[in-house]
Homo-oligomer: 226 residues x 2
DNA sequence: GCTTATATATGATAATTATCATATTTTAGT
DNA sequence: ACTAAAATATGATAATTATCATATATAAGC
């Protein structure tokens, strides 16, 4: 059982507000898990009796739409927590979480979590601020989806992936999404997404190498994204 | 100065968790305001040093998109609170609030609000749950916008207006939005919105009478909305 | 390493949606 | 009540996006 006190990712989430005593308790109540790429952490509608702290890796949060397609609502990476909303609302999760690469996560039972929540005001305030931040992002995202064209959304999403998750040594985007996943992030048909990527490639804005995508002209992409 | 203790709308928001003593204090610190149709309650980017409790009327929350159009993110009506997210995040508001009809609102300064927040756990938990509910709604909304056609979104929005805000004695929708506003809710061009409304009318799904809209075939609209 | 399945790519075409033009109706201001 | 301005409506057309078909490339399983 690893020590939460020594875990660096703690610093990036609301958990940084926990006291030393609380961190010791956390080390005891948490369970560590390895999740393989493609595996489901939890599924829409499930009761998740706690939250997950992502120690390493990236996952997608998806929601099944009325037409039967999965839509990727957001990507979540190390340092962030999963399942906070549902824990506080005391409701099933409304999104599914699926690993995009191998992950290490810690599960913290709801009862322990709520204990910290009730006794450490600083911590609960942090959680609250995080959720408020999520809400703001969600509203911004909504407006982008509603008002921008598919091309603009693709450019914006590529830049987002670049800025948020960075790149490998060969300059390719660190998060590797399939064309299908990329399409389901920007809300378009897979073929349309592929076609626009080809267009961007022809315009020398990006370079395609299998699943690898390299952004070659960030400024022009920014102009397209608006 | 009216008594918050006797105010019915209190029952519909997080404020219902306040104690009698807190309600008395609330009566003293709040200020009442009448907002005329079309007037702005607050504007995107502003520092709103408190929250608004809607006693009567409906307003729209909008966000300016990159293309210069206002997008209506959501509608808020009596019983609900405005500005909670921004108060907790300690950030400027990210949305503008504009009255769709004459309104009565009460403004509660941040300092008093945060006092209740710190000392009444039941109340802060209620606020939190409300915000979590908003986040869930926002995610659902995002998926709808991304995956549905304009026609489906229009049908869905009409049903939403019907279910959420009800109808007048003549069966017309209580919230009266201009075609432009309706378009900016579903994320389409005004002309497209008008055209689809005309189509719905020809199919006998709705009746149009100036700004008044009457839903005539709710089941068929549901089928279109999915 | 070969075979099958899956992902990516591209063409052809249809459907959806936006834009521009213009007519008509409604609303607002004097 | 009259005029100007704004909102609604509709046609014509262009642009965007989806769908279906099919080819090629890549990955997965044995």
């Amino acid at each position: 059982m690893s020590k939460c006190e020594q875990c660096i990712v703690r610093e990036f989430s609301s958990l940084k507000a926990l006291t030393k005593a609380e961190l010791l308790k956390l080390s005891e109540c948490k369970t560590s898990h390895v999740i393989k790429k493609g595996e489901v952490i939890f599924e829409e509608g499930e009761h998740v009796n706690g939250i997950y702290c992502i120690k390493d890796g990236i996952c997608k949060l998806t929601k099944l739409s009325a037409n039967g397609k999965d839509h990727i609502v957001k990507l979540v990476t190390k340092g962030e927590l999963l399942g906070q909303r549902s824990m506080i609302s005391e409701e099933p999760v409304n999104l599914s979480a699926v690993a995009l690469e191998d992950m290490q996560v810690c599960f913290i039972p709801k009862s322990d979590m709520m204990g910290f929540f009730d006794h450490n005001n600083h911590f609960s305030m942090n959680v609250m601020k995080t959720i408020c931040g999520n809400l703001k992002e969600a509203d911004d995202h909504t407006v982008n989806l509603a008002q921008k064209t598919v091309k603009e959304r693709l450019a914006e999403t590529l830049l987002y992936l670049h800025n948020t998750f960075g790149k490998n040594e060969d300059d390719s985007l660190k998060v590797q999404l399939s064309r299908d996943e990329l399409a389901s992030m920007i809300g378009t048909a897979t073929e349309s997404c592929i076609r626009l990527l080809s267009d961007f490639k022809k315009l020398d804005l990006i370079e395609l190498n299998g699943k690898k995508i390299i952004l070659k002209d960030i400024n022009k992409l920014k102009k397209i994204a608006d």
